[in-house]
Amino acid sequence: MKPARFAYERPGDLPALLARLATAEGSVKLMAGGQSLGPMLNLRLVEPDLVLDITGIPELRRAAIEGETLVLGACVTHADIEDGRVPDLTGGAMARVATAIAYRPVRNRGTIGGSLVHADPAADWVTSLIALGAEVELASTSGRRRLALATFVTGALDVALAPGEMLVAVRIPALPPGIAWGYVKHCSKIGEFAHAIGAVRIEPDAGRGRVVIGAIERAPLVVAEPHDLFGGWIGPDFADRFDARAADALLREAGMSDPVARHVHVTVLARALRQAASAPPSLTRTIGEAA
């Protein structure tokens, strides 16, 4: 379990990185926290010719609030978010997600950008940030563009990055009071990859919401108009109106054939809705599987 030979470089600024990315021959992998790439290199699941370490670029560690949007650089770590070293517009929802990612040593090094680009279906940010309506900011030598995260993640370990392009920042819209938020994941044990994730962002007053089901071995299932999951109408009693059979049918349509897996996903989703209905988003964080 030692990696095949590769070249390693650590550019000091973004233009240099993008230039190298544009001109490098052979296969290139960007490394941020290395918490997934490291093991994949050792297992020889990837054998790049060049590893470009992007942790030496200050811009990628930046965090800022732009109006109603929180902008986090690609190399902001899960621990930065967990510990509140970066600003927040989600009433603590981001910190609660971060707290339950893997184990603390992983959170110390693992980055939000790396997680999104790796796009492991079981990753917390992939599902939670889609539910929060986040966008990603992509850059290459030919310029920058923004993409909804739900569009960016195209499948398991698959994202819409063009050749020579990289993710530089994540843009997360505010989660104002009055919007119900719930995020529940289920793992075999604390810190392991999730077997089921439910993330819900419900606007009971406006009668709309977004339901995202994650950890399903493909890109998360996004229900942008989830009214059918609530008997056709979303109101303050949305958690009570949740129709488990409709959710089960949805998962069955999505190709989930194992009834046990469907039951677990539906249960987790119901609990995310229950959490959203019972706890306003700014309440204190909880630790454990419901965090």
Binding site: M1, K2, L43, Y103, E192, H263
Partner: protein, 789 residues
């Protein structure tokens, strides 16, 4: 022995472990820490298929001098771990596979390079031409006629079949008869440190020095010498710090044979460090048992008899030295556990499959038999409509029966099993649990209580192992004790300490006799050049055996000290006694440091008739009866089960344990903590599954789940201490017990929680997926029966 403050360092002292100062600061010295000039690394080419004929191994020309295959190993013999039990079929495990591979991960070629990464590059360039054969992956199917064969010349796939029948027919008219199929998953024991071997040539001694992470360096030397066909004197085995054994390192490795051969061939130091993928997919299988078990009982829960068919998946080869059948054959003799009943029948099969050889993991067969027995007892209780503890109270061996010979002639030395159960029931507070269960939990989870009781035969010796007829039979254990010229003490044992705390506890034994401070006593172990022969550390034997030998050596040293001391005191030795590290005579006393100084540095002051053996002793020991000590425990678990997600939270865990006289209760606690963690892994998380082609389905710890800190609660431990009548100080072996009972206690607790839903979990691990699957099935059955009504 107490000092002026009433503090003691002797038997019974709760001393922190001396070795932790080094181990906890990262200063341990493991095989992987060795740095030798000219060292090169080995990566192996391993079989990607479970069962295949080898057509060819294509080695690129550029690597021809760095790659070695079976064709190169001329004169090296296969590993043969035989058994003396009638009908045992012998497997020959090739050092490198030649004609056929019989498991994923079997060794095919050695690749040598300056670094492991480069050695893996070479391994990746080798092309295998294999003809895949049907994989034998299911032990029950493998028993059937017409199955494909792991070893063609056998005619079937059964290493060994055994049958025990004691008066079985007398149970048949019992009013209660309960049958269950109970099974345990295949596991990979997982020490933090993997295996590893570094071999170099010592030209001065004309020796191959094999540094290998081993629980039994002397046994490795036996096996290695036999495979290589060289004199034992040309082999020195060094086992430095070892990061956990648990049975995984109680084996002669084909890799060790390869590395020793390779060092002879290339003449420079060579190293192989196992990586986690090799560990999981190629090397570490254990535990897989299948039971069809029937209990016969009276309506009050009194057992009339047990009938069982037990099958163990032994894997492709018989592992050296414990063999492929120790596990299954032991099942037959230890299934009755701590229970006394009058009729018994047990048939066992050790079955060969295309999996890696089964190894003896902490608890060995006991974890499986405890699981089967304790689950069937709960089934009896449910059938009889009585509490699970009532069934156990009715059938446990009683204190007034000790010493007790059970139905399979196991000799229980001492103990009060019903008392252990009573204390566990009180500690877990069964009344409060049953009251709590009457009201639904606010969070929708279900509460359950589970019990499990076992006995652990430990330090069983010659009389037991000569009957098994495996390559290793323990005899007298020996220990060396040597006073240094400044009055310090060196102890030498041939067994190995790798987590047991022997550097501390054996110093405590010595202190009890010689009074030398624990801090001034050093344990020398893990090196065949420096220690007496021993079969090593296994079977919870070392405290009893090496402890007894250290005591014997120290007693002899004290006698010699008295003779020298008496001369210095100018008195007759008969008037002197040895006390707290001093020789005390009628008119004065002299300390060990002065006695040592005199022997080594001022021999002119010694009497003419002094014992010429001086202050260095090797003494041997065997308990008065070597059929084994019987430690035991009652475990009680309280769990909360989420029926919709299958999550299990352990709310409380009680261990009432009797390990005889405890040399160091803190070390015993540590053994119980570690054993419990492993038992929780067996119960809830750990399983190596295989597909129908015999492919292992986990290759990293992301797929093979071990419990972590959040999954292992701190147990509440209550020590009983009934001395063994047969051993020094009354000590008993306790090393494995912590890992034996938890799977049964937790499964019984989960079943207690889910029984009202009509769910019974009878396979370990009781994974979340299995729980949800069973709950959904029970709900579907209930709903269809409602419809039918």
């Amino acid at each position: 022995m107490s000092d002026a403050n009433g503090l003691t360092e002797g038997i019974g002292a709760r001393l922190p472990r001396k070795e932790d100062d080094r181990l906890m600061r990262g200063r341990g010295h493991y095989v992987g820490d060795l740095r030798l000039p000219g060292l090169q690394d080995v990566a192996f080419v391993r079989s990607p298929l479970a069962h295949a004929r080898i057509r060819a191994i294509h080695v690129p020309e550029a690597f021809r001098d760095r790659v070695f295959t079976a064709a190169d190993l001329e004169g090296v013999l296969p590993i043969r771990a035989v058994s003396g039990l009638a009908g045992f079929k012998v497997s020959e495990q090739p050092i490198l596979a030649k004609d056929k591979v019989r498991q994923v991960g079997e060794l095919l070629a050695i690749c040598l390079a300056p670094t492991r990464a480069e050695a893996e590059d070479i391994a990746a360039a080798i092309v295998l031409d294999l003809e895949e054969l049907p994989a034998i992956h299911d032990m029950l199917a493998a028993r059937e006629p017409g199955s494909a064969l792991v070893h063609e010349d056998w005619g079937d796939n059964v290493f060994l079949e055994t049958l025990v029948d004691v008066n079985f027919a007398s149970a048949l008219d019992a009013p209660i008869k309960v049958s269950r199929t109970i099974s345990t998953g295949r596991q990979c024991m997982a020490p933090i440190e993997g295996r590893g071997t570094v071999v170099h040539l010592d030209h001065r001694m004309d020796q191959l020095v094999v540094h290998t992470a081993s629980q039994m360096p002397h046994i490795v030397r036996n096996g290695l010498a036999e495979c290589l066909g060289i004199e034992q004197g040309r082999l020195r085995i060094v086992s430095p710090d070892v990061g956990g054994g648990f049975g995984y390192k109680a084996i002669l490795l084909a890799e060790d044979v390869c590395l020793a051969w390779l060092a002879l061939r290339v003449g420079h130091p060579v190293r192989w460090l196992e990586d986690r993928r090799e560990h999981l997919t190629a090397n570490a299988n254990c535990r897989e048992h299948h039971y069809r078990i029937t209990a016969y009982a009276e309506r009050d829960g009194t057992l009339r008899g047990i009938d069982c068919e037990a099958t163990v998946d032994s894997g492709a080869y018989s592992a050296y030295p414990f063999s492929a059948c120790l596990e299954a054959a032991q099942v037959a003799s230890i299934l009755p556990g701590p229970y006394d009943f009058p009729a018994y029948r047990c048939r066992t099969w050790s079955v060969a499959t295309n999996k890696c050889p089964i190894l003896p993991y902490r608890g060995v067969a006991r974890t499986g038999v405890c699981f089967a027995m304790e689950l069937i007892l709960d089934a009896v209780a449910a059938e009889a409509g009585i509490e699970p503890w009532t069934v156990r109270e009715k059938n446990l061996v009683r204190a007034d029966q000790m010493p007790f010979d059970n139905i399979t002639a196991k000799h229980f030395d001492s103990g009060d099993y019903p008392q252990a159960l009573r204390r566990a029931l009180e500690a877990i507070d069964v009344g409060a649990v049953r009251a709590r269960q009457r009201t639904p939990e606010p969070d929708g989870r279900r509460i359950g209580l589970g019990l499990s009781i076992y006995c652990e035969q430990a330090a069983h010796g010659t009389s037991v192992y000569s009957g098994w007829g495996i390559p290793m039979v323990p005899g007298h254990e020996q220990a060396g004790a040597r006073l240094t010229p400044d009055g310090g003490l060196e102890l030498r044992i041939g067994a190995h300490s790798h987590g047991q705390g022997l550097e501390t506890t054996l110093a405590q034994v010595a202190h009890e006799i010689l009074g030398v401070p624990v801090a001034r006593t050093r344990l020398v172990h893990g090196d065949t050049a420096m220690t007496p022969y021993s079969t090593g550390s296994w079977g919870s034997r070392v405290m009893v055996m090496a402890g007894g030998a250290v005591a014997a050596a120290c007693r002899e040293l004290s006698l010699r000290a008295v003779r020298i001391g008496a001369h210095l005191l100018q008195t007759d030795p008969a008037t002197c006694r040895f006390e707290a590290g001093r020789v005390v005579g009628p008119s004065g006393d002299v300390g060990l440091d002065q006695i040592a100084h005199t022997w080594y540095r001022r021999p002119q002051d010694l009497a003419l008739d002094v014992d010429p053996g001086g202050l260095e002793v090797t003494a041997g020991y065997k308990p008065q009866r070597d059929s084994g000590t019987f430690s035991y425990a009652a475990h009680a678990a309280l769990v909360a089960v989420d029926p919709d997600l299958g999550s299990v939270e352990i709310l409380d865990y009680v261990i009432v344990e009797d390990g005889g006289t405890l040399v160091n209760p803190l070390v015993v606690d540590g053994q119980l903590y570690g054993g419990l963690a492993q038992g929780i892994g067996t119960a809830l998380y750990e399983e190596m599954r295989f597909d129908s082609r015999g492919q292992p389905l986990a290759s990293t710890f992301a797929d093979y789940l071990l419990p972590g800190p959040a999954e292992v609660p701190e147990p509440r431990i209550d020590h009983m201490a009934t001395p063994s009548p047969y051993t020094q100080f009354g000590v008993k072996g306790i090393g494995e017990g912590g890992a034996i009972a938890p799977p049964a206690a937790l499964a019984n607790a989960i079943n207690d929680a889910l029984r009202p839903l009509g769910v019974a979990m009878l396979h370990s691990p009781v994974s979340q997926h299995r729980i949800v699957e069973a709950v959904l099935a029970a709900r579907a059955a209930a709903s269809s029966s409602r419809k039918a009504a």
